[in-house]
Symmetry: C2
Subunit: 585 residues, 2 copies
């Protein structure tokens, strides 16, 4: 060992012990008669001192040292004159007796401090230096702890962690696959899994009863801020269970993670039907840290000759507490905000509930004070509040109000990252109609079971069928999702038909699963958590990139190792492939 | 829940309780007045009884039942008349009150029993049925337990489990990579990792101090019985450590696994230098469950006008205990065995040590009884033993004697699967000369540090340089391997040069690592365990295939899902690729 203790270990009890530490030079301060080195490792920082008592030869060695040098230092632990209460080792220092440079360092391209001067691109290129920063490393430590908490919980509950293959088969359903050419099987390809869905269902058919895996999954999609081509799921499946059994089990898991890693006791998770989430929160992933629910005021406001409202399918409102004083400029800003294409409202109607009990609205021409008073009652607005109203197509405006609700919460500072409000969103529609392809898509995936009471609707009104599907939502983030599965080959075949699969397509892609169902499939259900998002939520971060050791950028590149990269022609030749690059326009 | 208890749970204490079980029909026995169903799930088997007391309607339902049907059964627990001591539930049975078929089953293509009638191919195609067999599933349960034991141990020791990327960059060094075309980066490719080697070293540069990961790795190599294109490693790395620290840590891990999963206390692991392993065992992975070490008798036997020996570089022998009675036929068999190309000896000389103290050898013409007596002394042979002698090129014959030693152990039934003899093989050569390419290859990998005392030899006699590299060997199987790493950019550059890299090649492939070393790299060392092999060793199996849930066959195919498979032209087009199939000859 190069050290007797770590840099985070020494305390006042250790004084007069001779110790050897090893780590990185965080800082050197030369105060003339005395010099100090802050020595850093993963565990903490310890102060090394060079003073009159230190051998002159050692003192001279300091000249060559710089930030981020790796050194080994031996000395005597002594009490510090001016204690540093901010760090656990702040009561002691090491009077240096010897020092050895293990590894010098060039000047780093950015400072290795909690607040660094390095830009994103530079820090990605030198990710190994960025990871030295406490703030970044702590995210990865949290990730490791959370994974272990997950495994402890699920092992205690008799789940078998089972690895499923990474080299599988491409299926056109869902997102785009990454494919892997096979050398031994000419002209054929593996695909990387978007999830181990079919394999975990086969494990249920195999009688594994309880399966889980923390597993890498892959999607070749254009990347947005919060997407990575490879991401990690906590993937779980159980047999002989109903929806409530699954939710109970994984509510328990989630609570266990909160307790074990953040020492937070969260309350029991409410169940909210999808329809309620859309009506009250304008989102299937409602942020319930704050109220500001949407009120449907369609019937209340129609019939006053305001043609915008009279012609609208739906009129909805939210009440922003204490915002009656919003200025013209602020209101104009909100109007522009809701008119952006991604929100998609035509305009914004507001009502200010003045402190004196009067109302001021953008539609005073059409509505009397008494009318507006009814609006206030309907939306729960009181003196000092601001009512914001959108009108138009119902689904679209509910979504827009949901977005506006979040925007107002941001402006009102309601999004406290230290508060966690988990809930289950349940009773999702089984199918959603896709205008582009003019067919139904599975809202969750093709293996999701309809609610038994809705099965008859599959023939008559498929869009109305609700699924035994559920999402775990925390603070407006979809953390996990799952469903009770179809375990009957006939019902599965019917589902594939609804999704527009020909019998042959279904057979070619999922024949092995439907075949498996012929040999005694147990009722089963499962869930998958987005582990990257979960960690980033726990860490109070806005992006998953900061909880991944070596993330890729928005072009799917790892700029540190400069990947992807061209390969040798011989390599392609062995795979029976040729590049076929398109001319750039 | 579909059940109140599992099929492995009920005991005599539960009698008179009404219970509901769910599971698979293992067996139905109709004894006229009474019928029995053995109901199976992952946890065990419980007997259901239909007798005079059972409702006639229920009894009728039995007619439709068959093996592997999934049923739900309700009834009263009662004491069994004739107890079955072989199963934990054998004291009770369930008097049936109700039964429901959850899922019927076609007749399975092979019997779901510990001893099945299914051939390998059929069982691979219906892997989900094969996994229902206790013997197969238990391997996967063991695997899950072992993984958890690993994580518990390493978490306790402050290791951070960190996921490294799966989409990385192809490097020509080592085995053949699987590559993954990038859609967003035209004409470029990711590669799947053969190991996270460089990433774990970067994590050390990042100050993570202790890293581990149980991780999938990939090699596109022609498959032998014990290889899979995707396999799993326990990958570990530590900073500020020397070789003995690493061996101590991972000896502890290995002992922990033995204790936690097999309840076996193994003794401290001996350290054996590579040179000793080759001399005494003719292998760098010696099986030390039995002795039968190789004796170098070159000097002893030369000079008796036996030209075969006199012209040989090396003559070595093993002593097979109690085999003096081997027949002519057996000895001919052994001769043929050593002459096979994979062993490569020219012939076999034997000496029988008769019970009366005399010797009988195949070289009696050249050696007197007194000569042979010296041979016996040198090889430790006693009356009743058989000495087997090979001669020729030293390296080759040591290997051949190593093979012969194992063959004799097999014949003598010395390979007890319940005995575990771990050891560390240390001081491997840094480099090995490759005749084909006429250059040195890294014996371990290019990041392995030479022993400090041998560094000077890098310039003068590279083949003699020993490395700080080590393998964990158990029962003749290489379970893990690792090394102290180079952490100095200059030494690393020198190593690349020895391996025949141009400066440009080294820079293009490993520039990011050498660059990282410029910013203060800590001394570090690590190890990787072949997890599949480790589990298969613990399970007493001969192949890793049985410890993988969904393995591939020798052509790299998953015959269950029929992968790899052709992909749509559009998919290739998006990736700027074209198939370029060769005409078959």
């Amino acid at each position: 060992m190069y050290r007797t203790h770590t840099c985070g270990e020494l305390r006042i009890e250790n004084i007069n012990t001779e110790v050897t530490l090893a780590g990185w030079v965080q800082r050197i301060r030369d105060l003339g008669a005395m010099s100090f080195i802050d020595l850093r490792d993963r565990y903490g920082i310890t102060q090394l001192v060079i003073d009159e008592e230190t051998d002159a030869a050692i003192a001279e060695q300091l000249d060559g040292l710089g930030r981020e040098f790796v050194i080994q230092a031996t000395g005597l632990v002594r009490e510090r004159q001016s204690k540093n209460k901010n760090i656990p080792t702040g009561e002691v220092e090491i009077a240096l007796k010897g020092i050895k440079v293990l590894s010098p360092s060039a000047i780093p391209p950015f400072t290795i401090e909690d607040k660094t001067d390095g830009g994103d691109d530079l820090r990605m290129k030198y990710r190994y230096l960025d990871l030295r920063r406490n703030a970044v490393r702590e995210n990865l430590v949290l990730r490791s702890k959370m994974a272990h908490a997950v495994r402890n919980y699920l092992n205690d509950k008799d789940f078998i962690e089972t690895e499923t293959p990474v080299l599988i088969k491409s299926t056109p359903e869902g997102a785009r696959d990454f494919i892997v050419p096979s050398r031994m099987n000419e002209g054929q390809f593996y695909a990387l899994p978007q999830s181990p869905q079919t394999f975990k269902q086969l494990l249920m058919v195999a009688g594994f009863d309880r399966y889980f895996q923390i597993v890498k999954c892959f999607r070749d999609e254009d990347l947005r801020a919060d997407r990575q081509p490879e991401f990690t799921q906590i993937d779980c499946e159980m047999s002989f269970v109903e929806q409530k059994d699954v939710l109970e089990m994984f509510e328990g898991l989630t609570k266990h993670m909160f307790k074990e890693t953040l020492n937070i006791d969260v309350e029991d998770f409410p169940w909210m039907p999808y329809s309620e989430a859309m009506e009250k929160y304008g989102s299937d992933k409602p942020d319930t840290r704050f109220e500001m629910c949407i009120s449907d005021i369609t019937e209340t406001v129609k019939g006053n000759n305001f043609v915008v409202f009279d012609s609208a399918e739906y009129i909805g409102a939210i009440c922003a507490k204490g915002c009656a004083e919003y200025t013209r400029k602020q209101l104009d800003g909100l109007t522009k905000w809701v008119q952006r294409p991604q929100v998609g409202a035509k305009g914004l109607v507001y009502v200010k509930c003045n402190e004196d009990g009067s109302f001021k609205s953008s539609v005073d021409k059409f509505y009397a004070q008494d009318d507006l008073k009814v609006w206030a009652e309907k939306t729960g607005a009181e003196a000092g509040d601001l009512i914001l109203v959108l009108s138009g197509d119902k689904d679209k405006m509910q979504g827009a109000l949901g977005d506006l609700r979040l925007e107002m919460a941001k402006q009102l500072n309601l999004l406290d990252k230290n508060i966690f409000k988990p809930l289950w969103v349940v009773d999702f529609p089984l199918l959603e109609w896709d205008e582009d392809t003019q067919r139904y898509h599975a809202m969750h995936h093709p293996f999701t079971a309809p609610k038994p009471e809705d099965i008859a609707l599959m023939d008559t009104d498929p869009g109305k069928v609700r699924a035994n599907a559920y999402d775990l939502v925390i603070n407006g983030v979809e953390i996990g999702g799952g469903s009770v599965r179809i375990f009957d080959a006939e019902l599965q075949a019917k589902m594939f038909k609804l999704l527009g699969f020909t019998k042959e397509d279904a057979e070619a892609q999922f024949g092995f699963l439907m075949n498996a169902f012929k040999y005694g499939a147990p009722p089963h259900a499962g869930i998958a958590f987005g582990f990257d998002r979960l960690v980033s939520l726990f860490a109070g971060l806005d992006t998953i990139r900061d909880v991944i050791a070596f993330p890729k950028n928005n072009s799917g590149r790892d700029v540190m190792i400069d990947s992807p990269a061209p390969v040798a022609d011989a390599q392609l030749d062995e795979l029976n492939l040729k590049l076929d690059l398109k001319e750039k326009e």
